[in-house]
């Protein structure tokens, strides 16, 4: 089958993989900017660990569990071997590296929700488990020939598989950790803990936006021929449109609600649109993408308020709302706006039902496994740092070096 390999497709997927890799610094700098400077080295280190551990472990067993034939629930263990996957229009190693960067993205989302109070050692263990168990198994359901893909579940680039998974695990972690010291006053009032550098936050969002141009259009896994060329171009446009309407929606809503155009929520709004469009970027129209961006951004703002002010779950960077909530909503909205099979285009309820089922099941899987693993780790050694360490910053006590030195 060697002759089937298409150079143009390969180059395109490799470039896309590089762009998705570049989302790692995007996440790192968003999370660092939205948290306090005393924890910056810790946040940066966690993002490195996610990618390093993810790269090694996805090679070791994750790729096999996700894409091995196995059964409908789980793939097979192919220790340090990805050759089973075989060449398609792109070489096997091209497929492998593209899947690796996706896996690392799922793991890295979690760190934001758990920022500023998690023991580094426990986080490392957890990151390993995300890359070897939680992500590959649900990834197998949707993308590896598992039971969800058999049902016709469509998640083009990972609203559910990557973002809902990461966001919901973050929710489980944030619940078990509890809020940061000083986040809630004794009367239960929510206090703002402003991030130390919104310039970093905004730069990180721009980088993520840029990286998404690999995340979504790259998931076509091909570029040659008129059909693929049209498809990746269409996906690029829908991706960008949802980001733009997502950001604009946050701008308008915060301006109306708070009388101020709030940069911090516009940053989240752009990401909400991007996460939301990821599932259906290839099957919705540009108008549909615009509406998905609006709805996801509005849902994100509602979810941020709900978590923060009502449920008192402390998510420093908004990972649960942006990735968890918008990932699910975007997947469901794919069932509504898909031009073929979508509810609004006369496709009836069946596709919408499958989309809804898929994202709910993946969310439930991620939450239950994430919660269970955090619970066990917490009972075993405790996953939260001592109050004194939290007050003075994780950088000094966990890493012995600070991000900013005069």
């Amino acid at each position: 089958m060697e002759t089937m390999i298409n150079s143009l497709d390969t180059v395109w997927v490799l470039i896309a993989a590089m762009l998705v890799f570049f989302m790692q610094p995007g996440f790192a700098i968003v999370e660092a900017g939205f948290t306090r400077s005393k924890n910056s080295a810790n946040i940066l280190m966690k993002n490195f660990v996610d990618f390093m551990a993810g790269s090694i472990l996805f090679w070791a067993i994750g790729f096999g569990l996700m894409h091995g034939s196995g059964n409908g629930f789980i793939g097979e263990i192919h220790l340090f071997d990805f050759s089973f996957f075989g060449d398609s229009n792109i070489p096997v190693e091209c497929s492998f590296i593209f899947q690796t960067v996706f896996c690392a993205t799922a793991a890295t989302i979690v760190s934001g929700a758990m920022a500023e109070r998690t023991k580094f050692s426990m986080y490392v263990i957890f990151s390993i488990l995300v890359s070897t168990i939680i992500y590959p198994i649900e990834g197998h359901w949707a993308w590896g020939g598992g039971w969800l893909s058999e049902m016709g579940f469509h998640d083009f680039a990972g609203s559910t598989v990557v973002h809902t998974c990461g966001g919901v695990i973050g929710l489980a972690g944030a619940i078990i950790l509890g809020p940061r010291l000083g986040k809630y006053s004794k009367s239960g009032q929510s206090n703002a803990i402003p991030g130390h550098n919104l310039t970093f936050g905004a730069l990180g969002v721009f980088i993520l936006w840029f990286g998404w141009f690999g995340f979504n259009p790259g998931s076509q896994l091909a570029a040659s021929g008129a059909d693929n060329a049209r498809a990746i171009s269409h996906v690029m446009v829908t991706t960008n449109m949802a980001a733009a309407t997502g950001g604009m929606t946050a701008l308008v809503i915060t301006w109306l609600l708070y009388k101020k155009a709030s940069l911090s929520l516009v940053c989240n709004g752009i990401l909400a649109g991007l996460v939301g469009i990821t599932a259906g970027c290839d099957v919705v129209s540009v108008g549909g993408a615009a509406i998905i961006g609006v709805l996801c951004s509005a849902a994100m703002i509602g979810s941020v308020s709900l978590l923060d002010k009502v449920l008192h779950i402390d998510d420093p960077v908004g990972a649960v709302s942006v990735h968890g909530v918008c990932g699910m909503l975007g997947t469901i909205l794919t069932g509504v706006f898909a031009t073929e099979g979508g509810l609004l285009y006369g496709g009836g309820w069946s596709f919408l039902g499958v989309e809804t089922l898929g994202c709910l099941v993946v969310a439930a899987w991620s939450f239950v496994t994430g919660y269970a693993l955090f619970y066990v780790l917490d009972k075993w050694k405790g996953i939260r740092v001592e109050p004194r360490i939290e007050e003075e910053g994780l950088d000094i006590y966990e890493h012995g070096e600070t991000a900013y030195n005069s």
Partner: protein
């Protein structure tokens, strides 16, 4: 020998600096200070409204001979004035003695306030 401490708006620092040079004060130290007062500024961060009572100002410290005090104070009063609440304060106090670390001299002669 007197010490003048003036808390002024950050935005007025350059004007005050120039005015002090004109009043023959050619050496002073300053620092950024944070103050707590009645003034509240509304802020919003990721959907949470809060107000901060932290006020940022610049504090200028001048050590000078007695005859320079009034010109310096007048210069600050004029240059740092906007008429809005929060223009700041000036404090004048007596300094008993001063030493030059390099030469070991002390007294009025070590103050470099004469052009």
């Amino acid at each position: 020998m007197k010490k003048i401490e003036a808390i002024i708006r950050r935005t007025k620092f350059d004007e005050v600096k120039d005015a002090l040079f004109e009043a023959d004060i050619n050496w002073f130290s300053y620092s950024e200070v944070k103050a707590i007062g009645q003034d509240r500024q509304d802020r919003i961060y990721r959907g949470v409204m809060y107000s901060t009572d932290i006020i940022s100002r610049i504090e200028i410290t001048i050590i000078c001979r007695d005859q320079f005090v009034q010109p310096a104070v007048d210069a600050i009063l004029k240059a740092a004035h906007t008429g809005e609440v929060g223009d700041g304060r000036i404090f004048v106090s007596t300094v008993d003695d001063t030493w030059s670390i390099r030469t070991g001299e002390h007294g009025d002669s070590v103050i470099a306030d004469i052009k």
